[in-house]
């Protein structure tokens, strides 16, 4: 008889690794299936490599080979010559979209998933987000409020370590912060101006990077390029933090190179096992579990559910509502402004490289009501001294050019908006009727476009970004209002939303499928609305809460 695990988790990223830690510490025997290989930090991480060690100096477009194999992935700002092996090959795992509705799907298939390359910004949602529908009438509320979620944020933050500054804002609740990183000169000035002239807060980014040693992990050493991996494990990634904790329980079985196809069910329609294809040998295999927890990432989890069709679940598992695949969201980007701060001319920068920026929490539709759009956005960005990239805009050549580049290093400041995306039924994914991936598994057809609310929000991002820079006395201010294609924020959420109504949602308030009591979804797929805050820490807080429920329910025998 093959081993039957208490839980089989699909995915080893920010949520999968975290759920593995929570469930194994709760006493469960757990298998984690990961589609990709195990990384070796000594080989795969390159944060201390210098550009002159790279044939192409670390350029963003990577190599010709990767340009052909990673036509989509290379659109991600993090996918470059140092890191292209931390992103999928689009040729191996394709997807389709309507011609006029492009979607950019950025993925990492290896142990740790996107938690190895993520942006690390970590902001709590508030009741302005969780209870947004009852304020403005659009969409649905979450089936839980902030008071219910707050202790789970505490739990995540205490374990993974989030540095930040408490600000006492109702729309952006404070957390269990490690000491904040320092602001640069331009940011200190901006904080003052924004507060005095606009009543807006500028705070240091709340980031999953240690500013004090924690749980055996050393604090950040400010080398800079986190997205290439961190040899000292000083930012939260699943392989540096959650998975080792799960391993220490002795109850974790990690199965890399397991490309999951679908869930097998028993005669009653309950989960029995996970069917997967060995990434390397292409052999078909099965792993059995009393429960299944999907943490494969928003779209992959939904793809697995859609592909799990049976007599009991003809339209995909957990889809009696017909909502599965719908209400796909991704944060709105493409609006903001940049400029040069002339008053800082000649002021040197810190030689240490702070891997963090600033955050301006949402200020629209909090106290007042904006005439053009619902919900709101926050700004990320920062002010820093340019060392040489300004040279591309210095005219001429020769000695005078070289001197100018050396002497006229500008302090540049930018604000880039991240806005809430409204949930729309018409933004959805389904199984493509013909195409399969390199392992013979049906691929997704993704159909999404940003609407009018989003376009107006992006216009406002550009206007307010410019307004703030001008108020600071910035020069050469360039505003931008060109909405990015959906997916490019890499904050895709929704498609298996949580709710109390089984007719209108896929999972309940415990992230347990309404239709199938031993199936849980614990990643971004469960979002009923997107907020405008970077989603990872919320996904983890939710997963922590749901994991505690799963452990209790299993001990009570409720899932049998």
């Amino acid at each position: 008889m093959p081993e039957v695990f208490d839980a089989v988790i699909v995915g080893s990223g920010a949520s999968g690794g975290w759920v593995a830690k929570e469930l194994t510490q709760g006493g469960l025997r757990v298998a984690v299936l990961e589609a990709g290989r195990k990384l070796d930090p000594a080989v795969d991480y390159s944060e201390h490599k210098r550009p002159s060690e790279m044939p192409l100096r670390g350029r963003r477009y990577a190599t010709r080979e990767s340009q052909e194999e990673q036509k989509i992935q290379k659109l991600c700002y993090q996918c470059d010559e140092y890191t292209n092996h931390l992103f999928v090959k689009d040729t191996e795992c394709p997807y389709t979209t309507p011609r006029d509705r492009p979607f950019v799907w950025i993925r990492g298939r290896h142990v740790g998933g996107k938690s190895v390359t993520w942006g690390r910004q970590s902001y709590r949602l508030s009741d302005y987000d969780l209870r947004a529908a009852r304020r403005d009438g659009l969409g649905v509320d979450w089936p839980l409020d902030y008071a219910e979620l707050a202790p789970w944020y505490d739990r995540v933050e205490r374990f993974i370590g989030i540095s930040g500054q408490a600000e006492g804002l109702p729309q952006l609740p404070d957390g269990q912060f490690l000491p904040p990183m320092a602001l640069t000169c331009g940011e200190v000035m901006a904080r003052k101006v924004l507060k005095e002239k606009f009543g807006r807060t500028l705070t240091i980014g709340r980031t999953a990077i240690l500013t004090a040693d924690l749980g055996g992990r050393p604090k950040c050493h400010y080398c800079g390029p986190c997205s290439r991996g961190c040899s000292t494990g000083s930012y939260y990634s699943s392989p540096s933090t959650s998975l080792p904790a799960a391993e220490r329980t002795g109850r974790l079985t990690l199965i890399p190179n397991a490309v999951v196809s679908h869930i097998e069910v028993d005669d009653a329609g309950k989960c029995k096992s996970i069917a997967y294809v060995d990434r390397v040998s292409r052999a078909h295999r099965e792993v059995f579990g009393k429960t299944v927890v999907l943490c494969a990432s928003t779209l992959e989890s939904t793809r697995i559910m859609l592909n799990s069709r049976s007599a009991k679940h003809p339209n995909g598992i957990a889809n009696s509502s017909g909502v599965l695949g719908h209400y796909l969201m991704d944060h709105i980007t493409g609006g903001g402004a940049g400029g040069v701060l002339p008053m800082l001319k000649g002021v040197p920068d810190d030689r240490a490289r702070r891997p963090n920026g600033i955050y301006v929490p949402r200020f629209r539709n909090i106290a007042d009501k904006h005439p053009d759009f619902l919900r709101g956005y926050g700004f990320q960005g920062g002010a820093s001294l340019q060392t040489w990239t300004h040279g591309f805009e210095v005219p001429g050549f020769g000695e005078s050019f070289k001197k100018k580049v050396h002497e006229e290093r500008p302090w540049a400041m930018r604000f880039s908006g991240f806005g809430e995306c409204l949930p729309e039924y018409e933004n959805f994914c389904e199984l493509d009727k013909e195409k399969v991936d390199a392992w013979g598994i049906p691929v997704l057809h993704i159909s999404m476009a940003h609407g009018e609310n989003s376009r107006k929000m992006v216009a406002d991002m550009a206007a307010t970004g410019e307004e703030m820079l001008r108020a600071m006395g910035a020069e050469d201010v360039k505003a931008r209002a060109s909405i990015s294609n959906p997916g490019l924020a890499i904050h895709e959420v929704g498609t298996a939303r949580m709710g109390d109504d089984p007719k209108a949602s896929v999972v309940n308030r415990w992230q347990q499928a309404h239709d199938v009591s031993n199936l849980f979804v614990m990643d971004g797929a469960v979002y009923p609305s997107s907020g405008c805050q970077n989603p990872t820490v919320t996904i983890m807080a939710l997963a922590s809460r749901a994991s505690a429920h799963l452990v209790d329910a299993m001990k009570r025998g409720d899932l049998a």
């Binding site: 510490q25 201390h48 210098r50 550009p51 002159s52 060690e53 790279m54 044939p55 192409l56 100096r57 670390g58 350029r59 963003r60 477009y61 190599t63 659109l75 933050e157 205490r158 374990f159 490690l178 000491p179 320092a182 602001l183 640069t184 000169c185 940011e187 200190v188 904080r191 004090a212 924690l214 749980g215 055996g216 050493h221 400010y222 080398c223 493409g334 903001g336 940049g338 002021v347 030689r351 240490a352 490289r353 702070r354 060392t387 040489w388 990239t389 300004h390 040279g391 591309f392 805009e393 005219p395 050549f397 020769g398 000695e399 050019f401 070289k402 500008p410 880039s416 060109s482 990015s484």
Partner: protein
Amino acid sequence: MTSRRDVLRTLSLGSIGAATATSVWADTLAALAHDHAHAAGPAPVAAADWTPAVLNAHQNETVIALSEAIIPQTETAGAKAALVNRFVDAVLEDADVHERKEFARGLAWVDERSQALFGADFVATPADQQTALLTIMSSGKAKSVADQIGSEFFQAIKSMTITGYYTSEIGMKDELGDDGQVFFAEFKGCTHPEHGAPAPARPGAKAAPKKQG
């Protein structure tokens, strides 16, 4: 075509180093060359027997001369000592056939114009004549199709020289003063009261949360 350029611009939002080249191929080569490399670099592997993969001997010499004219030796070394030509050759090795052809056409244009003006190839002309030709190429006032080729080529070779130079060991260490240190005890940030910086934090003002299992 437009969308490709839009993509480049989208990606460079926030970087003030947006390429200003005037054609798609030049944009592409500039993008190939320009990315956000920002850390320090050790000495390039001293391969005495290095030979270019794409450039022929004369083209290689021309690239050396052009790059050195764009970023010359001053108190610090220039593009020639930083081996920018090797970087250009690596970019071209990875470029597609069309981009390589356009680059070669640009190099040929430089010699043709140099011959027409001064009766010698670019590498064989004295510094003042090289400067005169580069001034024409960089003026941005191309009146003819032929001038346009030179103008676009200038943008491409200039962008590649900038990236190649400032990401080299010499560029980073000597010109930018970056010794390549990657371990820092702290990030101090703004310490200037005139900017509104707060008083230094009391030591141990905020203790780290207790670690959990």
